[in-house]
Amino acid sequence: MSEIVEGEPIHVGGRELVPLVRVTSRVRRQAFVGSDGVGAQGWGFVRLQPVAIVERSEAGECRFPIQDRTAQTLGGLLLAALVIPLLLALAVRLARKA
């Protein structure tokens, strides 16, 4: 389950900054009852990732996205790792034709 939630406003120098956070969570619970025993088990996790911060002032409202530069950089490197073998295979094919 994932949704974007507004946090408590942060007041700085006459401006109000409202954080927007994506909350991803998953919970599993299980209980069992038998003739010889009773028990329960469960697990859960919550992930909070900042998405943007909204500035509200007298001039109006402005949204500033917060991007995950690390994930973007790693994604670019992964894309390069996938493209490089394709380019080299193309070079081999051209070399064979020549």
């Binding site: 401006r15 025993g37 329960a40 919550v46 917060i66 690390t70 073998p85 080299l88």
Partner: protein
């Protein structure tokens, strides 16, 4: 025991509702007219288990220590365990100045450097294999 089981199930159900969104944004720090707000990505998780069981005579016969007790009646046991963890990683910095507000992302240089080294190794491997295919065939 049933009350403890219900308490455990209720605690897990409240996990999402108790998550504090403002955990991601730290206390603003103001220096020379500029205010800086640290932003982090936070994740936490845990697992729990609890149980109570009764050993039957058949089960006890396999264990010499509990054989005598099992002969008198049922042997009960209760157990439980759990574990959890929290992780917080720097994500960005929000800078508020009289001119305006800026968001400056933070890059995890260690991860990027490691990925870069792996990419270089992968590229060298692919290049070597390509050269073998090209020049190996010509020979």
């Amino acid at each position: 025991m049933e009350a403890e089981v219900q308490t455990l199930l209720d605690a897990l159900a409240d996990l999402r509702e108790k998550a504090n969104v403002n955990t991601c944004f730290g206390e603003p720090v103001t220096i020379e007219g500029r205010t800086v707000i640290p932003v982090a990505r936070v994740a936490y998780g845990f697992g729990l288990g609890v149980g109570r069981g009764t050993m039957t005579e058949e089960g006890a016969e396999q264990k010499e220590e509990a054989a005598e007790e099992a002969a008198e009646g049922a042997v009960e046991g209760t157990g439980g365990g759990g574990g959890g963890g929290v992780a917080a990683h720097p994500f960005a910095v929000v800078e508020v100045t009289p001119e305006g507000t800026q968001v400056k992302p933070i890059i995890d240089e260690q991860k990027v450097a490691l990925a870069g080294v792996l990419l270089i190794g992968w590229t060298v491997f692919c290049l070597a294999r390509t050269l073998v295919k090209i020049f190996g065939r010509q020979e």
